[in-house]
């Protein structure tokens, strides 16, 4: 008998909260007042944020100068392979009606350039760019080796197609002598890219470090001659190169090119007036896209477009709308209920 009762005992389920599904819990209860106040609060927040964001976006000055057509003859010149080395420049004048205050950033913008193609994105060698193994060109097809079999450095389609226009901005102070606007090449890349992800192979000088490799077929000069003045900006460490290597998500994209050096006339930013762009060209007609230069100021949150502000405003407005209609329905139902009770 005793054995049996023990047996029963052991079969008795444990009376724990988990096993009895009685864990202490908060039951989410949506009461009308709670939901409504939540909605109103969220709506107010969104509206407020929206207005702030719109205002800050409005404060941004931006000008875009397209130069594809104006520089078309240069491009045509380049079409002919024999003219490869010939210098071709074109100059585009434009007028800045308002002063751009604060830091001004110069971007180049490409239309219809697909940096996001699968094969294209694959076509790079991280170990080569780290400087650890220059000969590692495994993923770089079809730009891994030159015809005679020497590995290309930097290899791959991305590096090969680097944007190589040179853009010089000059300011016509009083219509006679153009002053070249001072620009900075530094800090246009992510810090980690410049100091961790991209490294030159170690050697006494760069040209010997890159010995045994050849330049990409579309490049006019080898990688160790990208910036001969500044060794910190040469080879794989070249800022323009690193910027290019961060592939853009969409076929229309903008990449940071230069920052305004705020000295002399430009302490305040870019003053209003006549400017001109001097461009050394890049074979763009072949992809039938468009190119432009963008000058822009930024706010604390970057060059936010109106989109974010509008999104917030619209969401806030819709939230309030929903809240009001909910309140109306709620009151109506309540009245009905009251009537029902009175009946």
């Amino acid at each position: 008998m005793k054995r049996i009762s023990e047996d029963y005992q052991s079969r008795l389920p444990d009376n724990t909260a988990l096993k009895q599904q009685q864990l202490p819990a908060y039951r989410l209860q949506l009461s009308a007042t709670g939901v409504l106040s939540g909605f109103f609060a969220a709506g107010a927040f969104c509206l407020g944020m929206g207005i702030i964001l719109i205002l800050s976006a409005k404060s941004i000055k931006e000008i875009e100068v397209k130069y594809t057509k104006i520089c078309a003859n240069c491009a045509e010149l380049r079409e002919d392979a024999t003219n490869f080395d010939k210098e071709c420049t074109c100059s585009i004048p434009f007028y800045l009606s308002e002063t751009m205050k604060g830091n001004v950033y110069m971007y180049y913008k490409l239309y219809g350039f697909y940096q996001n193609l699968y094969q294209y994105i694959l076509s790079r060698s991280n170990s080569q760019l780290l400087g650890t193994d220059l000969k590692d060109v495994g993923n770089c097809a079809p730009f891994s080796n030159s015809h005679d079999g020497t590995p290309i450095a930097p290899c791959g389609a991305i590096a090969n197609s680097i944007f190589n226009d040179t853009i010089i901005l000059s300011y016509n102070l009083n219509s006679s002598i153009p002053i070249e606007v001072p620009m900075l090449k530094s800090k246009i890349t992510w810090w980690t890219d410049k100091y961790v992800k991209f490294q030159n192979p170690s050697s006494i000088n760069l040209s010997s470090a890159f010995a045994g490799t050849t330049k990409p077929p579309y490049w006019s000069k080898p990688v160790y001659e990208l910036d001969e003045e500044d060794p910190g900006n040469n080879g794989f460490l070249n800022d323009d190169f690193i910027v290019w290597m961060r592939t853009a998500a969409f076929p229309t994209f903008k990449k940071l090119y230069r920052r305004l050096n705020r000295i002399q006339y430009f302490i305040e930013g870019l003053p209003a007036g006549n400017y001109s762009l001097l461009i050394f060209d890049f074979p763009v007609t072949r992809f039938k896209g468009e190119k432009s230069v963008v000058l822009s100021t930024l706010t604390w949150s970057g060059g936010s477009s109106l989109f974010l502000g509008l999104a917030y405003t619209v969401t806030g407005a819709v939230t309030w709308l929903a809240a009001f209609s909910m309140m109306a329905i709620h009151l109506m139902l309540k009245k009905k209920k009251m009537l029902f009770i009175q009946d």
Binding site: R27, Y114, F250, L256, F307, T315
Partner: protein, 1000 residues
């Protein structure tokens, strides 16, 4: 099947050049297979252990002239096995000898058919030698050819089967069947796989998604080639083709490339069919089913039995039941007989509070009746307590109520106990005598013959020699089998009384006797012996002899035994009906008894118009019934018996089903087990395809339990056969309401949300990927990093839904149980209807569009998001979409959750935090073994941008805003009953709080 699909995707990835690495889908597949393997392995291991226990049990076998100890798995056919008291039979055995003088032994067949009473097995000593020779011969013959005959002739002895517990000192038997050929093994039916309605709709959804997947892949492939047809996009100068690709531009290779492109897109989008869905569903079912066994409300204290889950695949089906088929005896009733009334010599007596309203003198008068009751049976007295019989002083102290009787039928037990209460106590049978204490005076009756009960005769009799020397025959049986045989006694009055008893729902038996002269007895004895030892047609001969003996009886009276209703049966049936479930009672009992029990248990109401379809030979009545039932004003109850039912089903199936559907309660009596199953099958295949549930407790309910969608076994007195073959076993019928209304409801809600949510989150996941193809010339570039692709379903979004699907309680369980009507809210698989499915899918797509285009308008164009003017690349874009997605999908789960335990909080917010920590960690290091360093510092850069934060917030808010608004409006305008109940509970709590505040 699903794993096969994933294996194919994996192989495709290995074969062709695809945008995602094989690891991306290989790892989840590996994970899934590992989890499944571990689960299966664990179950196998348990099974293996228990097998070992049985197979390795030591047994003593006579071999090469001596007793050898061996393991039970080594027993061969023909071995002579020695079995001691309380041991389990290791094989099917034929009894050769026992240590008792008469060569008998008592066995129970609990593990075979669940009957716990003792059965006597006798080896007929005279035949022993011959028998063993005979069966040696038979046994060495082929089994299959001889089995039929073999088994038939063996009835002569009694086969004692595998695993019968024996209560005996020693026993020797020859093994006739071993291993898989034992009767027990033959009883193992391979259970047909039952699939739940949820699983079926899940498969439908899977096919829909497969179609979506394939059409997306086809669209992508076609668009890719349309782009390429335009020359300028075919091969931009900056992305030249490799030699290999150039070569393949011939026609043949072109087709090959087309196919491989198609496959590549297939691989790219394959995440839309969630591989982890299967694991999660499996785990949810497996872990979730523990809650039933753990539930204290389903624990029956008296028997110490808790609910038992035999398959976890059907949990959610408990929330979908539309028809309940229930057995009567042992399911609705206790199967615990209580003597209530009797009619002796035409006078009716009642037992009140354990005392028959009969005065002392009358007992003498009706002496014979009670003697018949206490002698005509096969009741055993528990061995332990009969040990002391014969020791004078002990015996006199023996209070009658403390005697423990074991009987093969509970009716017999009740009768013997009742007789004992009157004062005529059956104290034991030893060898060939039966001892009865009549009002304190011990009388010994010599037991001459037992004419055993069988279901054809529906009666049994004993022949005893009274102490005075006269030989008496007592017969007991159903009134239909006794009354016609009677020639004397108050036949008419008794018949009226019996009918009255039956109307009250009592089970009746009639008693009769006959005095035998010694000449008569000698003839009987001779004929019986002849018949019993006959080798051919033994049964027929025995039946003839019984027929000869049991005639010209004198009626003594009738007994009425009540089978008490179980606790709360009426309430449970009422609740089931309120929940929109139709209850059918299927019973083998007689029509009158069945109807009265139905009335008393609330299955039939007094107000109900009860229609009867009994002993039906033609179809005309069915038509008239149908016309009556078309009247919907009053409720109808239908009573059908087995013969009419089989007729109705054979010829007028549709009409009959129509009638049944119009009736709110149906009672089928006189049903054979297979007929029960057939009724269920008919309901199952009727046009609405309702979900059926069968409840039963005995071996005769097994076929119906197996036939129904959900089979529930009651662990009752008739053994474990039903419980073992059922999907769920509970101790009492009343537990059904909690099982269905609470557990079933929860499981259904949980799994329905689980399935919908899984599809939703994978639509969210993969649609941006598809949209991105429009911006990258369908070059199969992935939007997310491959590590994110892999971990999305495994780590980032898996736990909240799993925990939800284990713990969610959208309404308080007490409310669910007290308001059965809430069960209607989930009937017909409502949560997984095409409408809700579409809602979730569209929600998924719209969320995906918001993620993608929100991010696109934010950074897609040309905007710098960093304060220092630097730009983001494609990986940052993907990470932004992914971050918004992980947060939205997790918060969406949070919105669905009504029941917030600390575990929910932990996994929900933990998942988001884990995603952030993981991403910071993953992006913070240049992983040496990964080929691509795409994600290096991407996430950190993203988070360092203020705009990105604002964008994440607004996108999450916008996504969920739609959903919240819909929820709120739905609730306000057309709330379901469930939602109303949620609100009322809230208000009650609120009012209660107010009251408390006021009183303070």
């Amino acid at each position: 099947v699903a794993n096969f699909y994933f294996l194919i995707i994996f192989l495709v990835q290995l074969m062709i050049d695809t945008p995602t690495s094989p690891i991306t889908s290989g790892l989840p597949l590996f994970f899934v297979i590992t989890v499944t393997a571990i689960k299966q392995g664990y179950e196998d291991w348990l099974r293996h252990n228990s097998d070992n226990e049985v197979n390795g049990a030591p047994v003593y076998v006579v071999r090469s002239g001596g007793l050898v100890k061996t393991r039970s798995k080594n027993i061969r056919v023909g071995d002579i096995v020695r079995i001691a008291k309380d041991e389990i039979f290791p094989a099917d055995l034929v009894l050769l000898s026992s240590d008792r003088l008469d060569g008998s032994c008592h066995v129970t067949t609990a593990s075979l058919d669940g009957e716990t009473n003792l059965k006597v097995c006798t080896c007929i000593c005279i035949m022993l030698l011959w028998v063993s020779k005979c069966f040696w011969v038979v046994v060495t013959f082929s089994f299959d050819q001889r089995r039929k005959k073999f088994v038939k002739s063996l009835k002569l002895l009694k086969i004692i089967n595998f695993l019968k517990e024996i209560i005996l000192f020693c026993f020797a038997g020859v093994a006739i069947y071993t291993g898989m050929e034992t009767k027990m093994a033959l009883n193992y039916k391979s259970k047909s796989q039952k699939r739940s309605a949820v699983e079926k709709s899940m498969n439908t959804f899977l096919i829909i998604y497969l179609i979506i997947l394939i059409s997306e892949a086809i669209i992508s492939t076609i668009l890719k080639y349309t782009w390429e047809a335009e020359e300028k996009w075919d091969e931009p100068w900056y992305n030249q083709k490799t030699e290999h690709q150039r070569n393949s531009s011939k026609v043949f290779y072109g087709i090959l490339r087309f196919i491989s492109d198609f496959l590549a897109f297939l691989v790219l989008y394959n995440f839309i069919i969630p591989i982890s869905l299967y694991v999660t569903v499996e785990m949810q079912k497996f872990l979730g089913s523990f809650f039933i066994g753990w539930d204290l409300d389903l624990y029956h204290e008296e028997s110490g039995q808790k609910a038992q889950v035999n398959t976890s695949d059907l949990n959610e089906e408990l929330g979908q039941v539309e028809y309940v088929f229930t057995d009567k005896t042992g399911t609705l009733t206790e199967n615990e007989m209580q003597f209530r009334e009797c009619s002796i010599n035409g006078i009716k007596y009642q037992e009140i509070n354990g005392r028959l309203n009969i005065i002392f003198l009358q007992i003498k008068e009706h002496n014979l009746f009670f003697k018949a009751v206490s002698l005509c049976h096969t009741v055993q007295i528990s061995n332990v307590q009969t040990d002391g019989i014969g020791d004078g002083p002990w015996q006199s102290n023996f209070a009658p109520s403390q005697l423990e009787y074991y009987a093969s039928s509970p009716d017999e037990k009740a009768l013997v106990e009742a007789a004992a209460r009157i004062g005529i106590v059956f104290v034991g049978n030893s060898e060939e005598t039966m001892e009865v204490k009549t009002l304190g005076k011990l009388e010994r009756y010599k037991l001459l013959h037992i004419l055993e009960f069988d279901s054809d005769r529906r009666r049994m009799s004993v022949i005893v020699q009274a102490p005075s020397g006269e030989k008496l025959l007592f017969a007991k049986g159903a009134e239909s089998s006794i009354l016609p045989k009677c020639v004397g006694g108050e036949i008419e009055k008794t018949r009226i009384h019996v009918d009255e008893f039956a109307l009250k729902g009592l089970r009746t038996l009639c008693m009769a006797y006959k005095q035998l002269t010694s000449k008569e007895y000698e003839e009987i004895d001779r004929r019986l012996f002849e018949a019993r030892t006959a080798l051919q047609q033994r049964e027929e001969k025995l039946a003839d002899v019984f027929q000869f003996i049991e005639k010209d009886l004198i009626l003594l009276g009738a007994t009425a035994v009540e089978d008490r209703l179980q606790d709360r049966v009426r309430e449970t049936i009422e609740a089931l009906r309120m929940a929109g479930i139709k209850v059918w009672v299927l019973t083998g009992d007689k029509h009158e008894t069945a109807v009265s029990v139905s009335l008393s248990c609330g299955h039939f109401h007094r107000t109900m118009n009860i229609l009867e379809l009994i002993n039906q030979k033609s179809d005309s009545e069915l038509f008239s019934l149908w016309i009556i039932t078309e009247d919907h004003v009053i409720q109808h109850g239908l009573v059908v018996d087995g013969t009419s039912l089989s007729l109705a089903l054979r010829e007028h199936e549709k009409l009959f089903m129509e009638v049944c559907r119009n009736c709110s309660a149906v009672l089928c009596c006189r049903m054979a087990p297979l007929q029960k199953a057939k009724v269920i099958r008919l309901i199952k295949i009727s046009p609405e395809k309702p979900i059926t549930l069968a409840v039963g407790d005995g071996a005769n309910d097994v076929s119906m339990i197996q036939e129904a969608h959900v089979g529930i076994g009651i662990m009752g007195k008739e053994g474990r056969q039903a419980a073992r073959n059922s999907d769920y076993a509970i101790a009492r019928f009343k537990f059904l309401s909690k099982l269905l209304f609470v557990h079933g409801h929860y499981y259904y809600i949980r799994i329905a949300t689980l399935v919908q949510y899984f599809f939703y989150k994978n639509v969210c996941f993969i649609t941006p990927q598809f949209l991105y193809q429009f911006y990258c010339l369908f070059s199969q570039q992935t939007l997310y990093d491959s590590v994110y692709l892999t971990l999305y379903n495994i780590c980032f979004t898996s736990l909240p839904i799993l925990i939800y699907s284990l713990l969610e309680q959208h309404i308080d369980p007490h409310v669910l149980q007290s308001k059965p009507t809430l069960y209607r809210d989930i009937s017909k698989n409502r949560q997984l209807s095409i409408k809700t499915f579409l809602y979730w899918t569209i929600l998924g797509f719209s969320h995906a569009f918001i993620f993608f285009f929100g991010s696109y308008f934010l950074i897609g164009k040309d905007i710098s998001l960093l304060g220092n003017g630097q730009m983001f690349g494609n990986w940052t874009f993907g990470t932004l979409v992914f971050t918004v997605m992980v947060i939205t999908v997790t918060v969406k789960m949070a919105l669905e959750t009504h029941f917030w335990t600390w575990i929910n909080h932990l996994v929900t917010w933990g998942s988001i935090v884990f995603y952030f920590i993981f991403s910071l960690f993953y992006g913070g290091i240049l992983w040496p073994f990964l080929g691509s360093q795409n994600m290096y510092f991407v996430f950190i850069q993203l988070l360092s941008s203020g705009s990105a934060w604002f964008a994440i917030i607004i996108m999450v808010v916008t996504c969920l805003f739609l959903d919240i608004v819909k929820k709120v409006f739905d609730r306000q305008l057309h709330p379901t009953n469930t939602e109303k109940a949620q609100v009322t509970i809230f208000y009650i709590q609120y009012l209660f709080k107010l009251k408390v505040c006021n009183s303070e």
